[in-house]
Symmetry: C2
Subunit: 185 residues, 2 copies
């Protein structure tokens, strides 16, 4: 069933452009018109509809894309190495790095089915519990909270930089420092 479709590299690039544009535009304004997304992607509205027939299809495609990025970030963070806090720190760093994409979950479309309790989330809560056990993570802050808490930092990191005269890099640093200090024992 899940045959890997062989797509021309050109089409694949266009597909990616549309997804990226959708994340950007819809994160800023979840109710944005499809034409606005098409314009941001540098593509005609009819082309967008050819790739994603309707808004729901586009929305769930974006959801899947972001989910995949999340899984990749978790893989890169190597959650099973070092203390719980060390792994938590690596994870936060990865997510901050890709905050433009993960902004989707902070301020994207809302009514797409939330895939609560997926494997990735379970890995994160397990990681936090490991940190509880090895004494590196504050026992008063429970696993679900810390897992959610990461998104807070991302929210600030995405929405702050514009006004303040500070580079995205610096903002990322402060964001990471804030998240880790909060979680530490």
């Amino acid at each position: 069933m899940t045959v890997e479709e062989q797509k021309s590299p050109t089409k694949e690039r266009t597909r990616q452009a549309i997804l990226r544009a959708a994340i950007g535009v819809l994160s800023a304004n979840p109710g944005a018109a499809l034409g606005e997304i098409a314009e941001a992607a540098g593509v005609a509205r009819s082309t967008l509809h050819r790739y994603y027939p309707d808004r729901a299809t586009l929305s769930s495609a974006v959801g899947a894309f972001v989910q995949a990025e999340y899984a990749a970030a978790i893989r890169r963070a190597r959650l099973d190495e070092g203390t719980g806090l060390a792994a938590y720190t690596r994870l936060c760093g990865e997510l901050i790095e890709g905050r433009d994409v993960f902004a989707w979950w902070v301020r994207g479309e809302i009514d797409d089915e939330v895939p609560d309790e997926n494997d990735e989330d379970r890995m994160v809560t397990a990681l936090v519990r490991r940190g509880h056990a090895d004494g590196s993570i504050d026992p008063l802050l429970d696993a679900e909270w810390l897992a959610t808490h990461i998104w807070c930092g991302l929210f600030a990191a995405v929405h702050l930089p514009e006004p303040a005269g500070r580079s995205p890099r610096e903002t990322g640093e402060m964001c990471l420092r804030t998240l880790v200090k909060a979680a530490a024992a």
Copy 2:
């Protein structure tokens, strides 16, 4: 010019109900239809239009309402008492208490003019700088960042509680602990 209009208590109550409903509905879905807001307020759409002729009027009324609540929270936090961190802690506590209202700024309408750099924000950044001076607040985290960072915590506190089996009170506690630990020197 700014005459205090004398309104009947009934009308005032309805007005408040509409504002509260608008905050709730629009925070969950910024593009929600006005009819949805009216329904949430237990009022006919025509009545809503009588109070607030159009969407922009409603939106800015909500903005003003939230801004007033913010000013009140800041007043209650007595920012000039104790160390910078102590005052910061009180402020976070007040904002967490009113998180349902302040959710507006995290995920409300977007295009209403952001009143950047109002008096309240200046008071907060001044407070953080005092904390830097008296050694109670982490000097590596600058004032704008910490001021913004509070809203992150609110975001999580508003959006987490539903799934997890935890009382709003407990969530608020964890949220506060997280914010304060992050800010502390």
